[in-house]
Symmetry: C2
C-alpha cells in the first residue's frame, strides 16, 4: 500500500530528528495533496521587537532559521500588532476583530483574571472556524485570554492546549516557595515539566504535528523573549526572579541567548515539517504580539511595548507558503493581527462567520502577488497614557501623554516631525476618524487595568 | 634646495585636489620631522550619536572615510562627552576641566549670550597652550562659548576663526527675511558665503591647512548633523526652517545625506593631509559634542541629547596617529572631552597650566599601548530634569526625572536593570561621591537656561 510505504519513509526521516516511535502525520502524502487544504503553523513570539531578528536589522546576534524562513517567503516591513500589549492583541488575533468589541478585550493586559475576562461562550475564533473546515487544531504555549478551566483554549476551538494561561511564566520550573508562575497544563491537567521552557514548548509542537492526521492549525505561542529574561542553562538565574515585572534584572546578553534559542527551536519545528514532507503544504507565519520591551531593538522606530508609537506596534511578520508566496520577497503591505483570521481562513477555503465579520482583511491576494499592496485604515487604543492612534495610508494620528501629533510615516518613520500645524485639515480628519471608530467600540471602565506609562524605565522618567 | 623641491612636489599633489596656487604647509618635510611635534586635526561633529557611523553600527547609510580612519587607528567604545548638550561640552573640551568650574559652563546650552557667557580673559585653553608650544591654531566652524567680538575664539588662543558663534546655523545662506542664523564670520569680519555649509567649512579647513607652516592645531567643528536637517542640494528645504528647534521637520533620509556628506568632507580634509604628506605626522581625532538627537542611532544605549543616560553622553571617538597608535584596534578605555587637553598637549611635548590643572587625564600611554586601559571616575550634571550622574569603573549612579538609579554598565549597557535595591552600599557610595563632587562646582542660578526634558518628543511624553 502506498500509504504504508510513505509512512515508513516518513519514519525514516523522522528518526534523524529523534521522532522515531511517534506516529507521523500523513498530510504530505502525494495522494492527499489535491484535496487537502494547507497546514497552518502560526508562530507568535512574545514581546519581540521589530528589529530583533537579524533579517530585520538586529546586529548583536543572528537568527539564521527565521532569516532562512524569510528568504523562502515574504517579509513584511509594515506588519502590526492589534495592540501594544499582549492580551488585547491576542483577542484581536483569535477573533479577527477589534478586541475593543469585547469586554475581555478592554484589559490591557489581563492581570488577575476576573469572571468577565473570557471570550463569550461560542464566540467564533480562528481555531473554531478552521476546525469547522476540517482542521485539527492546537494552541501550544501562551493563551492569556482568560483562566482555565472556564476560559481555556479548548473551549474555543482548540482541540489541544499545552501551555499556560497567564501573561508570562518562568523559563525553568521553580521551587514551590517562588511566587513566580511556572505551571503548565495540558488539556486541563497539570504538567510535570523540566528543562528550558522554549525547548519544552517546541518539543510539544513537534510531538503534536507528528502525532496526528489531516490538515492542522497549530498556534505556537512562545513565551520568549518575554520577561523574566532567563537565558537557556541559567537555572540559578531563573530562581532569582520572583515577579516578571522585576525592574532590577535582565540584560542584552541574556536577551540575545533567549532569542537565539527561540530561533533554534523554530528551526527544530521547521525541520520536522521537512522530515515529514509537509513543508510544501504548510503555511508558516511568524510574528510577535506587540512591540519590543527594554532589551529589544525597534530601529528605525521609537517607542516600546505599551506605547502606540510604531516601536510599540510594528512587529516582524514573515509568511512562507511554497508555490503560492514568492520566496525572498519583502512587501510594504500593511498587515495587522486581526487580518490572520480572514487571510488564513481564505487559504483553507473558508471565510469568517457572517455574524462576526472580521475587522481585518483577507490579504492572500496581495501575499500571493495576485494584487498589489494597498493602503489601509487601522485604529488603536490604549488606556495607559490615554493613547489613541489611527493610520490612514501613510499618515498617522497619535495621542500620547496628553499630546496630539500627526506623522507622515512614509517620510518620517521615527515619528519625530509633528505635522499637525502644517496639515490641520488632515489632522482633524484623522482625529475625527478615530473618534468615530472609538464610538463604535466598548468604553473602558474604571476597573480595566492600567498603569503609568511614564514610570517604566529611566528614559521614560 | 631640498625644501623647494619638496614644495614643488607638494604642489603637484595638491593640484589633484584643486589646491594648486595655495601655499602648502611643509610640516611633512623629512628635514623637519625629528624636531617637530605632530600636527593635530581635531574634528568635532555636532549631535552625532554613538551608532551614527557605520563602524559603530549604523545601517541605513555608510561612512567609508571615517570607517577607514578607524581602521587606521583606534576606535573607542567608551568615549564620552563632558555634557549631554553642546556649549557645556565645548567648555570642558577647550579648558580641559569640568565646565561647572566656570560661570559660562553653567549654561546648558548658551541661548542668547549674556555678558557672563564667556571664558574669563586669559583663561588657558587647549589652543592657547598648544600655541605656546609653537603651534599655529585655528577653529573652523562652531564655537558656542560666547559671542563675538568679546568672546571670539581668537581671544582664547586660536590664531584663526572661521565660522559661527551660536548653537547652530543654516546649511545654506538664507534670505534676509528668514530669522534663522546663517551668518559666518572670519576673524571678526562677516563672510559672504555660498554653497552647503559642511562643504564650505571643509574647504576652509583645506585652505588653512595648506596655507600655513609649522605644526598646526585645527579644531574643525562641523555643524553637521545638528538641526536644521537640510540635506545637501536642498536649498528650498533650507528656507523652510525658521528655527533650528522646529519640531515639525526633518527625517531619516535627510539625516543620512547630512552624515554621508560630512563623511565625504572629512575624506576631503584627510586627502589633503595625504597630498601634503602630512598624514604620518598628524594626530587625527574624530568625536561628537554629545549624544545624538532624534534621527540618531544610539544602540545599544538608551537616552538622547539632553539626558545623562548613556545615549546622551556616549559618542564615537576615533584617534589616528600613524606609528604611535596601532591601526585597526578598538579600546574600552573610558575617555571624555576634557581628556583631550592633557592628552594632546602631552603629544605636543607640553602640559596643562599648573594653575588650571586638568580634571581630565593624559591617556596617551593607553592609546599608544604603553599601558593598559584602566577604570575612571567621572561626573556629569544637567539642570534640565535635575540630572546627576557618576561613573565609577563599570557602575553608574543616575538621577533623572526625580528618580535615582544604579546601573552596572558592564552587564547592562542599556541602563534598564536598576540595581540600587540589590546594592544599597554601592548606591550610597556613588550618590555621596556625586554630592561631594557637586559641592566643589559652581551652583546653577535661576538665570541658567533650562527646559522640560519630557516635552521634547512624542516618546518623552
Amino acid at each position: 500500500m502506498g500509504v504504508v510505504a510513505t509512512r515508513r519513509e516518513l519514519l525514516r526521516s523522522a528518526a534523524g530528528l529523534g521522532l522515531a516511535g511517534m506516529i507521523p502525520a500523513l498530510a504530505g502524502c502525494s495522494e492527499a495533496k489535491a484535496a487537502q487544504p494547507p497546514n497552518i503553523l502560526f508562530i507568535l513570539a512574545d514581546d519581540l521587537g521589530y528589529a530583533d531578528l537579524s533579517c530585520y536589522g538586529r546586529r548583536d546576534y543572528v537568527t539564521p532559521h527565521l532569516d532562512t524562513l524569510a528568504s523562502q517567503g515574504v517579509r513584511l516591513t509594515q506588519g502590526y500588532a492589534n495592540s501594544c500589549v499582549c492580551s488585547s492583541t491576542r483577542i484581536g488575533l483569535v477573533t479577527g476583530r477589534y478586541q475593543q468589541r469585547l469586554v475581555v478585550g478592554l484589559e490591557e493586559p489581563i492581570t488577575t483574571p476576573k469572571p468577565t475576562d473570557m471570550l463569550p461562550a461560542g464566540h467564533p475564533t480562528i481555531a473554531s472556524l478552521l476546525k469547522a473546515q476540517g482542521y485539527r487544531t492546537a494552541l501550544i504555549g501562551k493563551w492569556h485570554i482568560g483562566g482555565a478551566p472556564a476560559a481555556a483554549p479548548t473551549n474555543y476551538g482548540y482541540d489541544h492546549f499545552y501551555g499556560y494561561t497567564g501573561g508570562g511564566t518562568s523559563y525553568y520550573p521553580l521551587s514551590a516557595a517562588n511566587p513566580m508562575p511556572d505551571d503548565l497544563i495540558s488539556n486541563g491537567s497539570p504538567v510535570a515539566w523540566n528543562g528550558y521552557l522554549t525547548d519544552v514548548l517546541a518539543d510539544e509542537a513537534v510531538r503534536w504535528i507528528t502525532g496526528g492526521w489531516g490538515p492542522f492549525f497549530l498556534s505556537m505561542h512562545f513565551n520568549a523573549p518575554h520577561a523574566p529574561w532567563t537565558a537557556p542553562g541559567d537555572m540559578a538565574g531563573a530562581a532569582l526572579w520572583t515577579d516578571a515585572l522585576d525592574r532590577n534584572r535582565g540584560n542584552l546578553d541574556a536577551f540575545a541567548k533567549i532569542v537565539v534559542n527561540l530561533d533554534q527551536n523554530i528551526g527544530k519545528i521547521l525541520a520536522t515539517l521537512d522530515a515529514l514532507h509537509l513543508a510544501n503544504d504548510t503555511i508558516v507565519v511568524f510574528t510577535s504580539d506587540n512591540g519590543g520591551e527594554r532589551f529589544s531593538e525597534m530601529w528605525p522606530f521609537t517607542g516600546v511595548k505599551g506605547e502606540l508609537l510604531e516601536g510599540g506596534l510594528r512587529v516582524p511578520l514573515i509568511l512562507r507558503w511554497p508555490g503560492k508566496i514568492a520566496p525572498a520577497t519583502t512587501s510594504p503591505q500593511v498587515m495587522v493581527s486581526m487580518d490572520f483570521l480572514p487571510t488564513l481562513l481564505a487559504a483553507a477555503g473558508g471565510a469568517p462567520d457572517p455574524a462576526f465579520p472580521s475587522d481585518g482583511e483577507n490579504l492572500l491576494p496581495v501575499l500571493t502577488g495576485a494584487s498589489a499592496p494597498h493602503p489601509r485604515k487601522l485604529f488603536w487604543r490604549h488606556k495607559a497614557g490615554d493613547q489613541a492612534a489611527v493610520r490612514d495610508g501613510d499618515w498617522k494620528y497619535l495621542r500620547l501623554g496628553g499630546k496630539e501629533h500627526l506623522f507622515d510615516l512614509a517620510a518620517d518613520a521615527r515619528e519625530r516631525a509633528d505635522r499637525s500645524a502644517d496639515e490641520p485639515a488632515r489632522f482633524a480628519q484623522l482625529r475625527d476618524a478615530w473618534t468615530a471608530w472609538n464610538a463604535g467600540m466598548l468604553p473602558y471602565s474604571a476597573a480595566n487595568f492600567t498603569y503609568d506609562v511614564t514610570q517604566v524605565d529611566a528614559d521614560r522618567y
